[in-house]
Symmetry: C2
Subunit: 239 residues, 2 copies
């Protein structure tokens, strides 16, 4: 291989890294803004989050195409091949994270005119802030290929799942207390679920970083604390 | 290119098609069984759906690895490259469809001991049957590379989104009528949402078929009829 080819190959990998970093920045902002829009019931900010999602979709397609062409053209091996595959995977997770933040924003538009139960809204936004931290840390870990930091994100997601489950129960309780809470709490339930799913995608990225560094795949059965799918709540104590 | 290479290359493409077909069969059964488990509140059938999901995850990783190696090794061009990329995309959608069916199954386990509101359960199962039809048709269209059939699936998804929105409103109404319906209806809301998302993934597969056949990408902004994110419902008429 002539050094010229190596250089331009590294150049193409650099471009992929730059595009991933751009996607990461947009996704982080979407998650942060959707949380702020929810906290303040800010429909205008929510609409801005909804509008920017197309940019993320476009970048993901671009990265996927470039990565595939890179593989076909350069036949990268070992870590170079893994980095190209990782770019495809991470861009897919970031695109989904954008979709989920957009879904939160859509809910905000629906409930923007309702000011109630701020305590539980704060709870959902708190969960959203934890997920923002996960996302920031995992993107830093990807940029620096820091496997230890990635595994830390991977392990921490269980806490977010547990928080989601307790919010789920809390919201059901408010709905049972007063039917006028039901529409609002239902939208909050879906918001919380979307945030929890964003957390799952940060762990996917952590798994990709581990694969990138080691060539090995983490066990699929990460212990999850999301008990909400199984959660039931009695509307009143048994007589 | 010697005919030997061509033959073994076609062989590898054939293997990819076979693996996708296997994934499709498993995903179809998971969707059908999760719907039946919901209809009959059959926790055992639900547990079986949950258990089989790992097989789908394994197949997806296998297909992704094989497809990437195929691209690196054979540097396929034009339609061959598109078919390999399509295999990666479709396997990703089928893996997500399995996750969503598994999520429905988890909800069934939560509500298995509750027999109420069968009418709306039937509504969710009906929506699930429509999605099953979408999935079957799009998998057939993929196997036969039938773009017309694929575009038909793509267009039909709007009807499922509309049905979801009406179920969403109906479920909110039941919750407002009687707080004892809230836990049950909340799980049904998430079941219906999962089914609606399965429909979205069938349209992704339809888009991939169009890309495979034409090399062109459909517009990302497919008109969606899912108004539920924006839906609000007054618990009582304004005084």
């Amino acid at each position: 291989m002539s050094s010229h080819i190596v250089t331009s190959y590294d150049q193409e990998l650099q471009n992929l890294r730059r595009s991933i970093a751009e996607m990461g920045g947009i996704a982080e902002k979407m998650v942060a803004d959707s949380g702020q829009a929810l906290l303040r019931r800010d429909a205008a900010l929510a609409q801005a989050v909804i509008a920017v999602d197309q940019r993320l979709d476009g970048l993901q397609r671009e990265i996927e195409e470039k990565a595939i062409l890179l593989i076909a053209k350069r036949q990268p091996m070992a870590v170079d091949l893994r980095e190209t595959i990782s770019a495809i995977r991470v861009s897919g997770d970031l695109e989904r994270i954008g979709d989920l933040a957009k879904n939160v924003a859509k809910r905000v538009v629906a409930i923007a005119d309702q000011v109630q139960l701020q305590k539980v809204v704060v709870g959902v936004e708190h969960m959203n802030e934890l997920v923002q931290g996960q996302l920031k840390d995992v993107l830093d870990a990807y940029a620096t290929q820091d496997t230890v930091a990635a595994l830390d994100v991977w392990a921490r997601d269980g806490g977010i799942d547990a928080l989601y489950t307790s919010l789920f129960r809390e919201l059901l309780t408010y709905m049972m207390e007063d039917p006028r809470n039901i529409t609002f709490c239902t939208h909050l339930l879906f918001c919380a679920k979307n945030v929890e799913r964003i957390g799952d995608h940060t762990t996917n990225i952590a798994e990709t970083i581990h694969y990138l560094a080691t060539g090995e795949t983490l066990p699929t059965d990460r212990p999850k604390n999301d008990g909400s799918s199984f959660a039931t709540l009695d509307p009143q104590p048994e007589a």
